[in-house]
Symmetry: C2
Subunit: 143 residues, 2 copies
């Protein structure tokens, strides 16, 4: 198991040293020791950081990701949570797909102003109706 200093971890994981300290403080990663006052990391931290990055991309907050590690430090994600997040992602994907089509249409549309294009207005209106739905749903939950 090779020892890594913070700069090397930072460089290989694509984050700054400050971010690593921040993550450690939050309990997301751990250093295996110190050399003087300097942190020493094991290379498994890289996999862990990759996982954190993936989790963030999937829409989990750092707090949620933190909860995915059991006290021992091994990964232990609730499978139903994963399935739930996959479904959520799926809905997001579909919405973004419609949006992309709308943008593409608007980009090619010959109407002098976008609001004069019936297709564009339809897309805008469709977004509007969905926003009503969301307002009924739970208000507070961020990434």
């Amino acid at each position: 198991m090779s020892d890594l200093d913070i700069a090397e971890v930072a460089q290989r994981a694509g984050v700054t040293a400050a971010t690593l300290r921040f993550y450690e403080e939050k309990g997301l990663i751990r250093s295996i020791g110190r050399r003087g006052l300097r942190r020493v990391f094991g290379d498994s931290v890289l996999e862990r950081l990759a996982f954190i990055s993936l989790g963030r991309a999937a829409g989990f907050s750092l707090a949620e990701i933190g909860r995915m590690f059991s006290p021992g430090g091994t990964l232990d994600i609730d499978r139903s949570l994963l399935a739930e997040r996959a479904d959520e992602l799926d809905r997001t994907i579909r919405r973004l797909g419609a949006l992309r089509d709308g943008l593409r249409h608007a980009a090619a549309c010959p109407a002098p102003s976008h609001m004069e294009c019936p297709t564009f207005r339809r897309i805008v209106r469709a977004a509007e109706s969905k926003s009503l739905e969301r307002h009924i749903a739970s208000p507070r939950n961020k990434i």
Copy 2:
């Protein structure tokens, strides 16, 4: 053209009155006048708000959306910007699709710990893209 008071606009657009004042201050919407000191809105503000919501969902910031309106107030989006954003969205969609599949696999995977599953590890390693950030499924950004 019916006159709307702030409460009605808020209710119909699914935002709070405070948000409407905030948007007005930022130049994203305008009231057509005042009745006493109270704002009066024309109903076209609803379409504009729907557009703003759509834009947010597509990953635009309020500042970017603001720039899409010409000084006169009409919508005037740079078409190449739209096409560019559509392409960006497309890349995001593909990446999120892979992520969703990964999550789905992990949810069904029989390995005792996810890190012991080769498929999961492959997904984790594959996650390196940075441009994903913009369209992450932040419920705040959702339509």
